[in-house]
Every structure is written in structure tokens, then in C-alpha cells.
Symmetry: D2
Subunit: 468 residues, 4 copies
């Protein structure tokens, strides 16, 4: 991220927006600097890119004061010795690898949990190779969704469904994830006490913490998986039975979600809606169009995660931290559309979360990032309202009610396509028209009025787990 | 500002949104703290309010971790010795007051420049008393607009018009403003080199800097004005002639703005539009309805400032720092409506600035803060585009073009009233309908397509003054 | 404070000491900035001085990168509009003054508590005038010690002795002190619940907090005292009887300290030593030589405070915050010697505290700041050891034992005068020789071995008051 | 580092030392946290140790408020899932290793530059194995001094001597060092433009920057060296001739330093002194006693570095960054003595640098860390004085003169052994007596008065290289 700043010449004199931007961004950036000399701008830009991408990637922030930016310099006779050798990857040392291999090869019910670090290291091919070589089933979470295709026989889908199998695994191989709230701090019900845990991370600082792994390995996920597969000695078929049980458990999990959708509701059921939209997106994928599915919101994100399927890396997106940072849905969707302009992009989002960045529909229209957005419009912050009622009584939902904003009209305001839907049967035709509009270059919003009383069972249970 | 935070119990374990919020807000708050014990919450809230309001007011930030907030405590037998004696004000010591009085009483062409500090100290009545007692004419700027009525015979209006008289004043009494970019750092063309300057501020740290005042006084503006008036010995009539010249200069300034509006334009002229809206707002005021006028934007704010009139404190609002912090228009307008629900509120804003907070129309609708918004829709960042072309050539307006977002439809999306206007004659009827809708409880947007090539002379000149 | 910094040219490249100095000093400075342009150095230095001195004084930190410092610039044709109108003072507004006057004039047992702010505003003469005009007795604390002479009939000495009278006062006028740990948060035993409290401070933010004053006044202490005295209407004699009681209470307090010194001890008693040194310093003062007495340490500082007398502003110095920030003794003493080179300066310090800055004896010798230092050498951190034993048992003094460093030899190492004393009768002759050496230009250390088991009653009681 | 802090109960009320310690340490710590709950203290301590040691080691700072520390908790039935799998190491991925191997095996004049990271990873044995397997000569710098014995036929000694060979190497293998000021930013005269550079670092962020390596490898130094050696295919003898040239160059370098010592000086020559002390330390080593040599100071450190020899890891210590952070000598020496109590420890230090921490001789005496200290007492900041004169003229040495502190007497003050030496022939006997005293348990200081006009050629040259 490169930002401007009050000029050095006017610093400290009450000039426009003269404030400590570096101080503000410090807690949320991996690297930050201010370039104070015009001839060093290339050097600083190179450093910013390097730090953003090296090792565990993160946000690098560079600011250039207005007058440093506006000045001119002649390129020096002796050019700056710039540059970085990026892309350097590491693998765990041999003894560590050996301990991991032993544990995995001794296991009767091993399971891979692939997390964000697996995605960030570009490990899709390596993970597929490892799974097919070893036969170990896999669940994917966070940014790693789709790293291995949900259709693959060794894939248990996302953690929301794969978690059941994880609870009965004897060895868990955790790739690129800390034991944070997302993983319930490495404890039950996901990780039972006696389970043997192997954790791989590019940053040794991330190993352990709330859960001590039996084997902690420092290394890039992609190259580590290649190294593990390269030394594997056991036939993959040995785990067929276990893998089938894993798939069954994931199917059973999905059925509990299906059952929730069939409960009576006063208006469109948000879970049913998620299932519809996911099915529609899946149709597009089956037809060869590819596609991306983004989920956002408090309770809505959970429905989206539960019903959407992931087939390829970076095509099933949601907030990285469990229940955190609402409003990333539209930016994620626009980025996916910019990356793969010919594929459809679906955003399934709660109305509260969507409102946080909905104005960026203007950006979507301006740059023709024609995404299809389904808004779960229940006129409120669903999960907050639920918690308030649970703790303080039914009348206590302070500040959690929203107005009945019509996001379909906002789509029209930016020159896009918008529809409001209040009955279940209207959903499918509306999706078809929305996709057609998007294919024509217009962002499209299907604003669906849903039952505000519905809350997913998962969200109800999480409130009691004290993860936040 | 009171915020939540990750619970102390889960701190440091990868819980949701566990970040250093205090670090982030530090550069932009006057006071900040985290309350770590449930029984001290009242004490911390009292401290936050005290620090926000004491002396020079500012933002106080208090955060309470989720588990500290959720826990219960019994009120203690011995209550906390809480509380502050707020509202304590100071005046300059007698010798300083005497020097100021002498300089002002010797002056032939004295002028008052009332700034934000005058508004924040609630000095309207004291300023009126001072002006009528001394006969010294006054110009108002920033938050002090309207502290003395623009209709008053000793008022030269805002600094944009009063600045001409200021340049020929022999003594300037600056009340509650630093010599920052807004005041051109206390230098020409506003403050000529030989001018005698008296500066009053509640914080002695604010005295001087880029311009050294001949007399610097520490004290609350309101009580200082009372003290000055209480010791005044010269009849106010002695300055009648000078005051008339000041009024003439302000009128002459306004005429140069009028002349700009009459230049040919390709579509609605933004200056002409500002004049129309300001005139419409003035009609409401004359009819006894009161009203607030808010200006926002890059170049649009300048037109709004130039043509709108201020009659009472806090009813003519715009960004406090010259050209800084876009997007405050709608929040300001909503706050004015909440404070004075029976009076009309007009927001005159550029489209770029409006977009930054336009989604809050939803908030306006939800809380029935029915403001009338006129959007100067030129499809771009006018002043940025102008600067880019000036420095880098006509084709260089990178990133300064916006789409033709229809903010009238956004108003409809929130259940409000919206109209798009493309011809000058449609403006007045649209304003009438918008006001009627607002009186009925609906926020209203009149989205006016204007000529993107027009730039005010003031903005053109500022680019050359190197104030940013 | 002006500091260097890695040059802008080498910033961010791993140059020597390239670290965020501004970040480090931020929590402990009032103002801080980095000057990035050579021609603005004078402007920044002026700003640093201004912010250090304006209003409530504090540390201003300015840093200049090496290459900015080393570059040369020609003075500009148009000089910077530099400068500040310093020294501007304020007084409380008339209504506040009136309420304070009413409360004080109605009082039967009023008492002034003069704190650091009174010293920092240079209020000695004003305080004397106020006391003599009103007859109200006074106690002084922190930097305000000596602001009114301990010999004065209306002076109750330091808070350690004056606190008893304060506890029975019906109205307390607190000048320039917050209700912090030093004032026991404005509560008992110093400030009883029903007492009427008037608080004056130059920063309205400092008014109230743990104790809400009945009257809170914003204003400079010196000018506020002048204003109060100027409106006083009651004869000073009316308070003669109360003033005599106040003096009696202070004398009674001193007697309890005397009694402690007479308890048997195993070696030199630290309290007896303090009384001896204070008496010796007092002799010098009586002989017309003036002099400064500095106290430092954990328990030692308490003895020094209790026995030393203050006659003039800035001549009785100790750590400003109750029990905080050890090691300031020698720097304070050297500063006093630099300010008043012809007067003797005595430092009475514990060995732990002294060790923190004892190496600066080298600085004292180099600049011929010839102070007389008496080290209470009990080979340990007395108060820490006491607390550890109290909480965890007699054998628990971990880390609180020091070696028997001979600070007299350190004095000789720097070319100064040093003596070690182990018997009480040797103290007086050693002090005489030390003073003689100091008068000859050599810093002198009298290192006295004292009984490590002795702890003052005050320190024992404080541990139970939970002030830390 | 574990620190206390004002109790949570008294936070924000003006209690003793209530300041933002986390803010102060943030710029100089790798990790920092405050533990706010008594039952989480073990968890936080574990995290602090983990972060201090994981990956690139660094300072971890933990603070525990007084009341959190003083409270008691019962161990929970369910213990905290504490713990980390420390010691996890990584190696570069195979393709990177291959590129490095190819470059090294093709090289005619390869050289290893071992830096701090090599020491921190404990790579001594691995480096020796690599050097003997490949025959590549090595120079060591910073904390890596002694990682391979200076006596080894493939060791060129420290960078101060090995730098000449480095300048003519065709391939440089840089282990655990950034291209910072120490390495002259990876440019000439150490690293010529056409040289092929391979850089290995545990943190990919450290790769490149001012110098772009041809091959950048992410991995732990120890395991990377093992991996490289394991795949090496070329006989070591092939580099015999080059290795001999490297040794010759180092010898030639040492001769230039020898020559400097023989120049006439007015009193003891600091270089000659360094050579004497180094020779004496070397004698002890040869006699089988082992030993550590520490250098500190501005110019003095350079002499110490040039003449002292390193035989084992961690036994030749000086400031890690070129010319930075004075005053670490005594703490380093004491740590070495604590680690290897039976071996002699020599500290060769300038007087200015020594003064910064000299008072810790008290700590040395208390804990019987009996080190031998040779102070180069030239009564000033030698390098600063030199620079000032160079830039501003001979009379310009402001603030760079120190007094003639006698550090030998300081040693006596703490109960240690001290001697002052003013003639060269006295040095050797004094060292013998000092070592004898240290062997008896007393820290010993030999304070040698040296010629203040002498400045090493290296320091003179550095001033022109603009590295700071």
C-alpha cells in the first residue's frame, strides 16, 4: 500500500491532514516506512514489495510526502544496488521431516487440515500430489478452501463439515494455520486431547501456543509437502476405509445443515437461500464456466460456507478469521472478477456486512467488475441480535436493527442490475437474470428479504464456546 | 468514543479482532485508555467525558474488553470518589489584557477573526457584546461561522469574503485559531507583514508558531471577550467608517464570485448551483424556519462557503481544515438535524466527497434525520483533476474520474426522495419537492449533473500558494 | 532535548542505530518532532522550546538526522516567520474566583497545599503575598517545597508534617497538584470526606479525578494567587489561632520522627544521620551561605524529607512522585550547583538509588559541580526488602541485597573527596571536611554504613495504604 | 525480559511510574505483551520464551502488573494447553540448494562470510564440517567470530583482515548477515560489483536489499550448511592455492595494523596496547585455560578487533553493528564469565564506552564475575573528536573531552583490584597481577593512559565512506 503524506516542507505547521499515519497503521502492517528522498523512491518501493511477499506475506505500507513525490531527480550515474531475490522457500530439516513421516505412516486415522498458509504458499498441486501419494484425507479451511477439490475422494470439504472427522483422527497434519479461534485454539471439539498433532508453518513463531504440537516443522508448505511425498513409503490404498468414513462424516454434517433449511420459517429461510445460490453457482461450474463463491456476514457467512463447494484455489472466499472483519465480501468478489473476468462471481452476504462496503458497487460499475450479489436482507445484525437476546432477554436487541435498505436500488444507482425478492420461488429466476446482467458487464444485486428469526445451529453453539 | 475489545481472557491467542486499537487511535485522539476492571467502568467513563470536554475539547477514546464489560459487580459500599468540576474557564492575566486593549483602542482599522475555538467555548453572545461595545468589525471562519450574524452591520461574513478587509487591517484580533493552513500560516495575502496581531487561545501551546503575535493571550475565548468588553473605553461609533469599508470589501468579494457564476458553462455551473441552493436555504431562514447549511467537497465546498450565509452558531458547517477531510458533510448534516429536528438542513456536496459517507443515508432514513442533499455530480474529483492537469498536462487525470453514480437512486434505495437534475431551470422545483419530502420525514437527494471543466478562481490560486 | 539520528540518506538500510527514537520517547514527552530540512532547524528549535515551556511545562524532544544537521544552507531572503509570544498566563474567570474566595473567607480552618505547579509557575512571591494577606497557613510539597519559608509563621513545612493539619482543615486550597498517589488520591488520611476542596491548575484536564473539588479553577498559579489576594476582604489575624495549631501539629509530627531516631540501632541509624546532615545544612544556611538539600532513595528519601528544611524555592529537592523514579538525586544536585555555584549543595541518598546515576560523579568533577553527597549505605534496597519480608517472610529478600560498594572511593576515582564513616561521632567531622573539599571545587562523598534493619514508620504504613 | 508495572487497580490515577512501558519498548523488541490475569502468567512466560528463541532470536518483553503478580490462583483442574515445539529448523528447498552448490563448485575463489545468524543458529560444528569438506576459506564477523578457529588453515580471521580476500573472491557465501553498514551495504570495497553472491538467512525478509544476491536461500544456517556439505562433490584440495592466498592476505592486513602500532606516540599507543592485551590473552589460551576477549569503544574497539584472536564460538565478543551501541563491553564480559567461570575474560575498552556501564562493576563484584578490564583511557571520545576536527577544524571538539576518571579506583571501590598504568613496560606486569586477582574472585581494572591523538587508519577511512 503506497500512500501520500503532507509534504516535508509543511510538516508540523498545521497543514492539511498532517498526522502520524505510520503510527496509525503500525498495529496492522507487517512493514512500514516513509521515503524521504525522491531518488530513493525506487529503492523503497522494491523494499515494500519484498517485505509484503517474503516469508509469511503481509501488508507493507509505504508513504511518500507530497513534495518528495513531486520533486524530480536525474537517475544517478551509479544506480542503486537494488533488488531482492524473492521466492526463496524453505523445507523442514531432515530429522523433523522424518518424525512427521513416522507419525503419519503409523497413523490409522490421519487427517490433513490445510489453512491459509497452504494457500499463500501456492501449495495446491503439492497438496494434491501428497494426498494421492499418501491417501490421507484432507479438510480445507479459510483461504485454503479449494486447494484440493471438494469433489476429490480424499477431500472432506471445509472444516465446517470436515471437523467431525478431525475429532476422530489419531494424527492431524496442520498446514499453515495457527491454533487460533478458527481452530478452537487447537482444543475440543475439533482437536481431542490425545490426538497427535503435526504442525507446519513458514514462521517458527507460529508453532504451538494454545496447543503444543508433537512435531512442529518450520518450512514453506508447498515445498514441505513435496518433501514429505518424496519420502512416503506406504501405499495410499491402506487408508481407503478411513477416507470413506471421513467422506461419510462430511455428508452427515451436510445433512444436518439441510435439515435446518427445511424447518418452517416466516419468509425466505437464509439457509435455504444459501443452498439455492450455492447450487446455482455449482451449476455454472459444472457447465464449464468456473466461478467464485464469496460468503460474508455474521450468520449469513456460516450458511454460505456450509453450502458452497470449492473446486480450485482462491475460488471459495470468506473472512479469514472466524466471525471476524465483516464487509470484505464485495472487495473479495471484485478482486476475483478482476483476476478471472470471464468467470461468474457470486457474493452471498448479510445485509449488515454488505452495508459496510456496499458503496463500492460504484467502483465495481466503473471498472466493469460485474459480480452477482445476493443480499440476505433480514434488516438487522442477526448474530448480535441473537447474542443480545440470549444474554439480556428478548427485548434487548439494542442497535442491532437495521432499516430495510433496498440494495437492489443501489445497484441501479450505479447503473447495474437490481431485483428485490420476497418469495422463495422468485429466487432462481432472479439469479438467472442477475447472472445474465453480469455477463453483460453490469454488477447485479438480488436483495432477498429473509426471516430475521432464523439463526444457524452452529452460531448458537459458538456463543457457548467462549471463543471470542 | 467507547469501543469494545477482545476479552482479556482471550487476549494474545489469535481471538477475533485482537489488535492494538489503542495504538491505532493514539495519533488522532486527545485522550485514550482501556478499562480493565468492571467496577472501574464508571470511573473511566467519567474520565473520558472530562478529557473530551476540558480545556481544548477533543476526542477521548475508551475501550472496554468484552469480558470486562460482560462481568457483573456489586456496587461497593464505599463509592468511588468520582467526578470532575467541569466548565472551569480562564481569562488572560490583567497585564496581557491591558496590552491587548491598548493595541485595539489605538487601532484605526481593527478586525476580529473568530475561529473554531470561539465556537467551542460558546462565545456567540460574548462576541456580539464585544462587537457592539467596541464597534470592531468581525469575520468568522471554520466552526465559528455564524457566531455573529452575517446580517450584522459589523460582520464581514466568512473569511473567504472578510479576508480582503483583513489584509488592510492594522490590528487583527485572532480568537481561537492557530496560524495553520486555513489562515495561510498567518502570512500574506491574509496577514500583511506589518500588521499587529493579537492572538487568544485556551492552550498557550497554540500561540504563535508560523506567525508571532505581538500579544499572545491564554484564556477561554468567551470569558476573555467578556473581560475585554468590560474594560473597553472607546465609543463604538469611532469605527463606523472602517466598518462600512469592511462591509464594502466583503460585498466586492461576493461580486467576484457572482461573476464567476455567469461565465458560460457546458451544463449546470457548480457556482450558480451553490448560489441557487444558498438562496433557497436563505428563503427558508427568512420565512422563520431557521436552517443549517453544510458544504463539503474539494472545489464544491468552496462554492458552498462562498454563497451560503450564516446567521447563528453551528448552522453553517464545513470541514474545519482548509481543503481537508472530505466526507464529513452527511454526518454533519445528520447531526444538525438531530439537534434541531424542526429546521431544514441543506447539504451542498461534491460527488466524490459525498461518496465517502453516502451509505449513511441508510442511517439518516432509519433515524428519520431527513436532510436535503444537493450533489454536485461532475463525475470526478474536480480539484485533483485540475491539479493533475496543471502539473502534468491535460491528459494526466489518473484516478480522478468517477462513474456517473446516481445518488438520487441511492436515496430511493433507503426509502427516501431522489431526483436527478440536468438543466438549470429544474433546480428550484426539485429543491422545493426535496424540502417537502424532508419535511415529511424522508431524506432527499437532488443529484445535479454539472460542468466538470469549471474550477473556482480561489482553488486555482490556492494551488500556487503552496499551503498543502 | 535535542538528539541526533541516523541520516535520512541511510535510513532503512541497516545503518548504525537506525531505530524509531520518536516511538521510544513518545510515552514520556510532552512534544516531539523530527526536523527533516536543514533550513527549518531554527523553526523546530523554537517550537521545541515553546512547547517545553508553554502552559504546563514538559519535556520536548527534537531530533535532527545526521545529514540534515551536517548540511549547510544559506539564510533565506525572506526569513521564517518564527517565534512565539511566551509567558502568557491566565487566571480563572471571575465567577470561579468568587466561589473560591467565598469558600476561603467562610472557612474556620483553611489550609493551602502548594504543589509542583506552584513552583513551575514561579509563584513564590505571590504565595507569600497571599499568605500574609489572608493569614491562611500553608504546607508545601514536591517541587513547591520552600516556595514559602519553613520558618514563616504560617508555614507548616512539607506535607509529611503539614498533613496532620490538612486532615483537620475545613477548606483546602490545592495549588498545582493532581490528586495522585502523592496526595493519596485526594482521600483520607490527608483529605477527609467532608472537607471542601478548591483546586487550581493551569490545565483543566488535571482538575478532579479521584477527588472531585467543590471549586475547580483553571489558571496559572501565580496570577491566580495575585487575583485572590487582590480581592481578599478579611483580616489575616482572624486565623492566628488556627495557624498556631497548624504549627503545633507540624512540630508534633517532627517529634514522632525524632523519637524514631532515638530507637536503638545496630550501627548508624539512617534517621539520625538524616537529622545530622539536615542540621549541618541548616547551619550553613543560618550562616548566610544559602544552600540546597536534595533527598533520594526508597526509605532514605523519606528521612531526608522529614528532617531537611526549605527556605527558598528550588532549594529542597526530591523525587516529584511519591516513592517514584529513583536516581534523580545526583542530577538534581548537580543542576542546583550549576545554578547557584557559590552555595553548598547536599545530597542525602540511599545507596541503591545513588548507584543508578553515581557514575555521573565523573560529570560533576569534569564541570566542577562540587556537591556534597551523603550515602546511606545499608547494602540493599531497604524498602523493597521490607516489603518482601512483610509479604513473603523474613528470608524472602530476593534481589534486594547490594554489595558493600564504597562510594567514597568512587569519589576519589573522579578526583574528588571521599570518606567512609561507620560510627556516629565521625559524621560531623566528615561533613565538615567534605564541605571544605567541595568549596575547593571537588565533589565529595561521605559514605555512611547504616543499620539495614531500620525502616521508617511512614514507609511501613504506606505499604498498607495500597497507593502503588 | 520480564518487568513489573503499575497495578491494574491503580492504573490511570497518577500512581507511581504509571507509564506506557509497552510503547517505549515496542521499537526495540521482537515481541511484547502484558499479562493481565494471574492464572495466565505461565502461558505468557512460555510465549515470551518461545518468541525470543524461535526463528531469528530477539528480545521478548513481558510485563506483569503488580496486583496481577501479587494475587494467588489455584492451579486449574484442566491445565493450560501450554507449550511450544521449539528448535524447529528449516533448510532451503532443493532447487535453491542446487543453485548454490553449482555456483560454489564452479567458483575459483569462493569465500564464506559467517555472520551473527551463523552463531545464533549454533552452526560451529556444521561450519567446520562444511569448510573441511569443501575447502572453502572463511572469514567470520560479529557474533560469528570464532565459529571457526582463527588457527584453522581455511580461516582468514575476522572481516577486518578477511575483507581483503573477500574483495577478490569470485563467489561469496554470506551466512546470517544482512547487507547492512557492517558489510558496507554489500558494496565495495568488500563486495565488488561483479561478484556472485549467495546469501542464506533464516528470515527471507533479510535477503537482498542494498545488494541483490544471485542466489538467496531461506533456511537455518546450521542445517543449511549440513545440507550443502552433504551434497558436495568436489575435492577440498582444489582450493588449496586460493586458501593460501586468503591466509596471506589476512597476514598482510595484520602487518598494516602492526605497522600502525610502531608509529611514534606521545605515551602508550592504543594499538600497541591492544596487541599486548591480545597477546596476553592468547598466552592464556595456549596454556589451556581457554578465555574470552571482549572489545568495546569507538576507536578502541577497532584495535581490539584487529589484534584479538578467536578460537571458539562466543569467545571473541564486540558490538554487533559497526561502530554502534557503545557500553556493551562489561555486560558481555560478565555474561561470558557467568557462562564459563573457570576461564579468564578480558575486556579491552575505551574509557567513554566503559563509563556507560562501568558502575556495573558493582554487579560483577557482588556476583563474583571476576573479569579483567583494560581501559584505554585517553580522556575523551576519540572517534567523535576525530570527526569533529576533520569537519570543523582542530579546535572544534565540543563535548568530546572526558575527565581523567581513574577506573582503577572504581575497581577498588567495589572491592576489586585496580591499577593505573602510564608507561608501556608496566602493562605486562599489571596484566599478570590483574589476572591473578581475577582468578582469586575479584574483578580487576587496568586503567592505561594512552595517547589521545592516535586514531586507527580504518576509522579515518570509514569517516569518508558515508556508512553511518
Amino acid at each position: 500500500m503506497i500512500a501520500g503524506r503532507t509534504g516535508v516542507r509543511q510538516r508540523g505547521r498545521g497543514a492539511v491532514q498532517d498526522l502520524d499515519q505510520l503510527g496509525i497503521v503500525a498495529p496492522v502492517t507487517k512493514w512500514r516506512a516513509e521515503c524521504l528522498q525522491t531518488d530513493r523512491i525506487p529503492e523503497y518501493v522494491a523494499a515494500a514489495v519484498h517485505h509484503a511477499m517474503a516469508g509469511a506475506p503481509g501488508v507493507a505500507y509505504l508513504e511518500v510526502p507530497q513534495d518528495v513525490f513531486a520533486a524530480s531527480v536525474h537517475p544517478e550515474a551509479r544506480p542503486w544496488p537494488t533488488g531482492y531475490a524473492d521466492g526463496s522457500r524453505s523445507v523442514p530439516e531432515p530429522t523433523g521431516l522424518r518424525r512427521a513421516l513416522d507419525a503419519l505412516q503409523e497413523a490409522e486415522r490421519p487427517l490433513v487440515v490445510a489453512g491459509s498458509g497452504a494457500f499463500l504458499s501456492g501449495a495446491a498441486e503439492a497438496l494434491l500430489g501428497f494426498v494421492e501419494c499418501t491417501g490421507i484425507p484432507t479438510t480445507t479451511t479459510s483461504a485454503a478452501r479449494g486447494l484440493i477439490d471438494d469433489d476429490h475422494l480424499r477431500c472432506a470439504g471445509g472444516l465446517v463439515h470436515g471437523g467431525i472427522a478431525l475429532a476422530s483422527a489419531d494424527v492431524a497434519l496442520v498446514l499453515g494455520s495457527r491454533f487460533n479461534a478458527n481452530l478452537l485454539y487447537g482444543g475440543p471439539p475439533l482437536f481431542p486431547p490425545g490426538q497427535r498433532v503435526i504442525q507446519v508453518d513458514v514462521r517458527p513463531e507460529n508453532l504451538g501456543g494454545p496447543r503444543r504440537p508433537e512435531v512442529g516443522l518450520t518450512g514453506d508448505i508447498r515445498t514441505t509437502l513435496e518433501a514429505l511425498a518424496g519420502s512416503w513409503a506406504r501405499p495410499p490404498g491402506a487408508l481407503d476405509e478411513w477416507a470413506e468414513k471421513v467422506r461419510q462424516a462430511a455428508r452427515a454434517s451436510l445433512q444436518t445443515w439441510d435439515a435446518q433449511c427445511d424447518r418452517p420459517s416466516n419468509g425466505v429461510h437464509p439457509g435455504w437461500l444459501a443452498r439455492q445460490v450455492a447450487a446455482f453457482a455449482e451449476e455454472q461450474y459444472r457447465s464449464g464456466r468456473g466461478g467464485t463463491f464469496v460468503s460474508d456476514g455474521g450468520d449469513s457467512v456460516v450458511w454460505g460456507i456450509a453450502f458452497s463447494r470449492a473446486h480450485r484455489p482462491g475460488t471459495n472466499l470468506f473472512i479469514g478469521s472466524a466471525m471476524g472483519t465483516l464487509g470484505v465480501g464485495l472487495p473479495f468478489a471484485m478482486a476475483a472478477k478482476a483476476a478471472r473476468p470471464d468467470e461468474p462471481v457470486f457474493l452471498f452476504t448479510g445485509d449488515g456486512a454488505f452495508g459496510l462496503s456496499a458503496i463500492e458497487l460504484d467502483t465495481a460499475a466503473r471498472h466493469r467488475l460485474a459480480v452477482v450479489i445476493v443480499v440476505v436482507n433480514n434488516g438487522g445484525w442477526g448474530d448480535v441480535r441473537h447474542e443480545q437476546r440470549m444474554f439480556y432477554g428478548r427485548e434487548a436487541d439494542q442497535g442491532a436493527k437495521l432499516s430495510t435498505m433496498r440494495y437492489d436500488l443501489l445497484a441501479e444507482a450505479v447503473g447495474g442490475h437490481g431485483e428485490r425478492v420476497v418469495q422463495a420461488p422468485e429466487v432462481r429466476p432472479a439469479l438467472e437474470r442477475a447472472l445474465k446482467a453480469a455477463d453483460g458487464g453490469s454488477p447485479a444485486v438480488v436483495d432477498v428479504v429473509t426471516d430475521p428469526e432464523v439463526m444457524s445451529d452452529l452460531m448458537k453453539n459458538l456463543a457457548g464456546l467462549d471463543v471470542m
